[in-house]
C-alpha cells in the first residue's frame, strides 16, 4: 500500500485561476479530510468526506469545494484563486469519520498563487 497519495506535489497558479488537487486514501479507508497549512501554523480544517458525503466543513469561503468518488478518492477544488490561498494542502485518510482513530496524512500539495 502506497499510503495516502496526493497529486500534484507542487503547482503554481495565477490569481483568478482555479485549481484541482487530488487525493487517494489508504486502501479500505472511507474517510478523507482536507487541511490547509500556512507556514508557521497548524493544519486548518477545510472539509471532511465519509462514504462520499460531506460530513464537515471548516471556515473557508465557497470558492473551496470538494467531492469524494466511489473509490473513496477525493478532489479539492479552489476557484478564483487569491494570493492568500498559497499554502500546503494536506489530505488525511482515516478508517472512521473525523479521524477518531487518528489520521494518516499524505505528503501534501504545495500551491503557490502568483
Amino acid at each position: 500500500d502506497a499510503g495516502v497519495t496526493q497529486s500534484p506535489t507542487h503547482l503554481i497558479k495565477t490569481r483568478g485561476q482555479h485549481v484541482t488537487l487530488r487525493c487517494s486514501p489508504i486502501s479500505g479507508h472511507k474517510s478523507v479530510s482536507w487541511y490547509q497549512q500556512v507556514l508557521g501554523q497548524g493544519p486548518q480544517f477545510i472539509f471532511q468526506y465519509y462514504e462520499k458525503e460531506e460530513r464537515g466543513r471548516g471556515n473557508f469561503p465557497d470558492r473551496f469545494s470538494a467531492r469524494q468518488f466511489p473509490n473513496y478518492s477525493s478532489e479539492l477544488n479552489v476557484n478564483a484563486l487569491l494570493l492568500g490561498d498559497s499554502a500546503l494542502y494536506l489530505c488525511a485518510s482515516s478508517g472512521r469519520t473525523g479521524g477518531v482513530d487518528g489520521y494518516t496524512f499524505g505528503s501534501g500539495t504545495r500551491l503557490t498563487v502568483v
Binding site: 473525523g98 479521524g99 489520521y103
Partner: protein, 109 residues
C-alpha cells in the same frame, strides 16, 4: 468554539533532559486528543492518542480535564526526537479534528 493552544513555538532541551510540550484545549464536552509529529522531510504522522493510554517512543500524555490540558512528556530526550509536534482535538460525535499551531522541539547534543 473548539480550540487547541500550544503556547510554545520552540522548545530547546539538552539530550537526556526531560521534555514537556504543553497543550491546552477548550471544549465543554469530552474531546478526543492526539499528538502528531512531523520529522524533517517526513509526513505528519500520528504519535499517540489519549484514548489508548499508550507510550510511543518513550512519550506519554495525560489528559487533565480540570486544567483542560494534554501535555506531552518524555523523561529523557533524544536527538532523534527533534521534530515539529502538533496537539489535536476531535470533538466527540463531530467530524473534524482541530490542530494547534505546533511546537518545534530541538534536542541539543
Amino acid at each position: 468554539a473548539q480550540r487547541v493552544t500550544q503556547p510554545e513555538k520552540l522548545l530547546s532541551v539538552f539530550k537526556g533532559a526531560p521534555v514537556e510540550l504543553k497543550c491546552n484545549y477548550s471544549y465543554s464536552g469530552s474531546p478526543e486528543l492526539f499528538w502528531y509529529v512531523q520529522y524533517s522531510r517526513q509526513r505528519l504522522q500520528l504519535l499517540l492518542r489519549h484514548i489508548s493510554r499508550e507510550s510511543i517512543k518513550g512519550f506519554t500524555a495525560d489528559l487533565n480535564k480540570g486544567e483542560t490540558s494534554f501535555h506531552l512528556k518524555k523523561p529523557f530526550a533524544q536527538e532523534e526526537d527533534s521534530a515539529m509536534y502538533y496537539c489535536a482535538s476531535r470533538d466527540t460525535g463531530g467530524f473534524k479534528t482541530i490542530f494547534g499551531a505546533g511546537t518545534r522541539l530541538f534536542v541539543k547534543a
